[in-house]
Homo-oligomer: 534 residues x 2
């Protein structure tokens, strides 16, 4: 599910530091910059950014290969090859030469709006990277490598304590990172801002406080209602038929298979090397049809966004997604608002029955619709339904916030986790593996990522609401399998802008209002009151 959006910039402990050697060359260049016309200067800047992009995306190709086709013994050397590319990209990005180009361009008043925005955004990223000393970045990379392995070991032994020490060091470094990056009110804000610019604890506290109670009440009502039968989803669904159906879905949703491909991998993910090469992966569980189908739709939502980013802005911020939240809004919009709608089920019903006649022959489209929307409090986030999902996120958000502000310690995590799963979802966490060890994120140093999953859902609801107003008879179009109008709407209203706007700004621009939670809550209520008939 985790989209690999911006191939992570890692630092290996090997090799030379290029950065410190640029100075003399660029002192000369700097003198020359003054005489360059703005278009020429901007072209130099673009060349340099595209070159850095080449390293980042080459590294991404190596990572894609690692997750799909790499022979087992190739893993060791692949690690160092990826590290070298990532290090080179990082060093080129923090080099004074780029700073000089940025500063020279910031002084120019004759840039186009798009050019200026590109320069400003790179400047922001540049200043941010400059705040983190190379020694710190390197140590962080080493620490996450180590903690990834101890997380693996802890999962294997089903014992959080094997992960706790490394996690502790990592949390401490994340506190340091927050201090270096700077923040106004809460140290966690610095990390949130890193995933979604402008996001902070005030905003998220308010959002989660607005949804917690209404969702809990809705959940209680659902739990008190007669259970939905979804047993037919867990029959035997042959691998090849699932694959073929998934490929058909991708095409129907508008994914350009001339500019992308799908492969099998252990975990579904989306990865992009430029807007003409955006790849997704899926996995197939022969005993569970829904696993593959909605992961396909989710990933293709990410991929449609990447394919829709302006090709001409390769290597530039305007060629990148707005934020993790907006990225997630695209996957959730397709996965939930389209893919889990009754109209979508009706459209695909003949085809599904054709692919799986013995399994689904006696089921109706509506029974299927109810089954794939069944709400059931559970232990694992990635298996959760649309409603309970947000309680999973809330637990993680609260823990991250408290860890970073130092009000709980890593050893307190399992107890906090288990208590809140009981409180929010009424489930008993039997062990750490199905509890606080289930996600890769922390081992990877990703703090501030989880909230974007919920924000993505909330943005999705508001965006889809607006699309439903702008596009005549959208449900009917979906029932007819006509997805192009919605994709066109997203291309025009979201994709084309790249990183031009912050999440909130984009939301306002498109919907006329900042993120308002009632769009999501209304959607939830309408959906489940229909399915559970209350």
């Amino acid at each position: 599910m985790l989209p690999v959006l911006y191939p992570p910039v890692l630092i290996s402990s090997q090799g030379f530091t290029f950065a410190s050697t640029y100075r003399s060359f660029f002192t000369n260049l700097k003198a020359g910059m003054i005489t360059l016309s703005s278009p020429d200067l901007f072209q130099q800047f673009r060349n340099e950014m595209q070159k850095i992009a080449d390293f980042r995306y080459a590294s991404a190709v190596l990572q894609w290969d690692q997750e799909t086709y790499l022979p087992p013994k190739g893993a060791a050397m692949r690690g160092r090859q990826v590290a070298t590319l990532s290090e080179t990209a990082h060093q080129a990005f923090v080099a004074p030469q780029l700073g000089d180009l940025i500063h020279a361009l910031l002084d120019r008043s004759d840039l186009t709006l798009a050019e200026r925005r590109n320069v400003e955004l790179v400047h922001e990223d540049y200043l941010k990277q400059q705040k983190l000393p190379s020694s710190f970045v390197r140590k962080l990379a080493e620490t996450t490598q180590r903690s990834f392995h101890s997380w693996i070991a802890a999962r294997k032994e089903n014992d959080f304590r094997l992960f706790a020490d490394d996690l502790n060091i990592l949390v401490d470094m994340k506190r340091q990172e927050a201090a270096m990056l700077g923040y106004l009110k809460h140290p966690y804000d610095a990390l949130l801002n890193d995933h979604d610019k402008g996001s902070d604890t005030d905003l998220l506290d308010a959002l989660f406080s607005d949804v917690r109670q209404p969702l809990k009440e809705l959940l209680d009502k659902i739990v008190a209602s007669p259970e939905v039968d979804d047993s037919f989803l867990r029959q035997h669904f042959p691998k090849q038929a699932q694959w073929d159906f998934g490929m058909q879905l991708l095409k129907d949703l508008g994914y350009d298979l001339e500019a992308g491909r799908q492969d099998l991998a252990e975990h579904p993910f989306t990865i992009n090397f430029n807007s003409n090469d955006v790849r997704i992966t899926t996995r197939i569980d022969e005993n569970d049809l829904s696993n593959m189908v909605w992961s396909c739709i989710h990933e293709v939502g990410h991929a449609l966004y990447e394919q829709g980013l302006p090709e001409s802005e390769y290597g530039m911020p305007l060629g990148e997604a707005a934020s993790y939240s907006i990225h997630e809004s695209q996957s959730r919009l397709w996965e939930n608002h389209v893919g889990r709608s009754l109209e979508f089920c009706e459209h695909y019903w003949p085809l599904l029955q054709q692919y799986f006649p013995s399994q689904l022959g006696k089921v109706t489209a509506e029974q299927f619709y109810r089954a794939i929307n069944k709400v059931q409090p559970s232990l694992i986030r990635t298996d959760a339904d649309e409603l309970t999902y947000h309680f999973h996120v809330m637990v993680r958000y609260e823990i991250e916030k408290k860890l970073i502000e130092n009000s709980i310690q890593t050893e307190d995590i399992p107890a906090y986790w288990n208590e809140h799963y009981q409180r929010y979802l009424g489930v008993n966490v039997p062990d750490d593996k199905r509890g606080c060890l289930q996600d890769i994120h922390w081992s990877h140093g990703s703090f501030g990522y989880f909230p974007t999953y919920s924000q993505g859902s909330f943005y999705a609801a508001q965006l889809f609401g607006k699309a439903s107003k702008d596009i005549t008879k959208l449900p009917e179009l979906i029932r007819n399998g006509e997805n192009q109008p919605l994709l066109g709407w997203l291309r025009k209203n979201v994709h084309q802008y790249g990183r031009m706007y912050k999440s909130e700004e984009l939301c306002s621009l498109v919907t006329g209002d900042g993120l308002k939670i009632h769009h999501f809550l209304d959607y939830m209520l309408a959906k489940y009151s229909n399915i559970y008939q209350f």
Copy 2:
């Protein structure tokens, strides 16, 4: 067939020149070098070489992807990503910092033999690269890009003249390159030396003069003999069965599929990212079984060599193949001496009949053996049998030599080609597509490559002869499918040395004698007098 052995170092026209900026940093480092112990200094050298290797092999991964899984629209950006990596590898290699390390190491008397050899070989490569100005390398890369496209266009239109102008520029640049690299007698020697150190026109003129007449006489005898029936090879052989049989072959021959993989591609090739990740591709023609089978064996011969290179020498010359000729000797040895032997056919006969009962049910192993060794003068090099193959090479060798020495011009190529195909092979070349436009090499700037194909065959015969003496009952082992003794022999006598020795030195070390053509001629005569019964 073309193995991608050393991912070609290309230069793009974009980006900054890093090299000129190293100086100040390395002036300081150089002062520090004096106080470093030899092991520490060598470790710095190794680090730098491994880093360069990371770029080269990352670029190779991108090229592998390009030939196997790249979505069509991804090609444009992939080109620039590969160019950036290649340029970075090249710039790091020609940077003064590496020169300083090399010179410091050359002064040390306490290196191990392997360390010293690595330093010397890198020094050679370094000096060679230094001889080519960056502007020249860049122009050469641009020219080959252009001429590759005009070659494609010329093939499409079946008209050599569309390629002639660009080829002319390229040939002229190759003459310049020869002058820059330097040579003792003939300018073509400089280019030959680039593919096989020590190889020159004297040596090749002698070799080809030694084989031309005997092979021609043998061919005349064969053509006068009753034709061998190979019609059963061109029935319908289903794709999946061919693939499965090919995979079985790879395993049986000792290819480690934990450290490699096979995929489909338009052209069979071998590519390596380190000795633990060596990949091959094949193609399947459902109307021709032999196409897939012997291309599999050929490529796996290359791959076994790469998998057998010392893992600990990653990034160093001793971790690389000895030469193009020796590389080709490994593929030819397995393809011809093993794969086209009667014993091999006998071993696989039950399995082949099992895979293709209706196609091969009434054929005997010996009939099959004769069919796959059928000699038939033909137009296309890659389809040629073991004997006539060398006439294809001779024509190309003569043309290259004459072009570089300026005794013929590019516009003379078709006439020279067609005349010599008639003279050597007795075939009429109907058009340029099936004539002088058939190979990619020249469009790619590869002059001096073709002769290594013949040299490879000649070395293969001599090496296999020695192996047959050293290994008790080798034919019987092959008949039993026991290939490990032969692979072990090659590992010990060839693979383990990497680039330690030149082709001729290695040949002498292993067989007690430099390359002698009678090994190959004796093999040819024995084989065909048996098959054609004269």
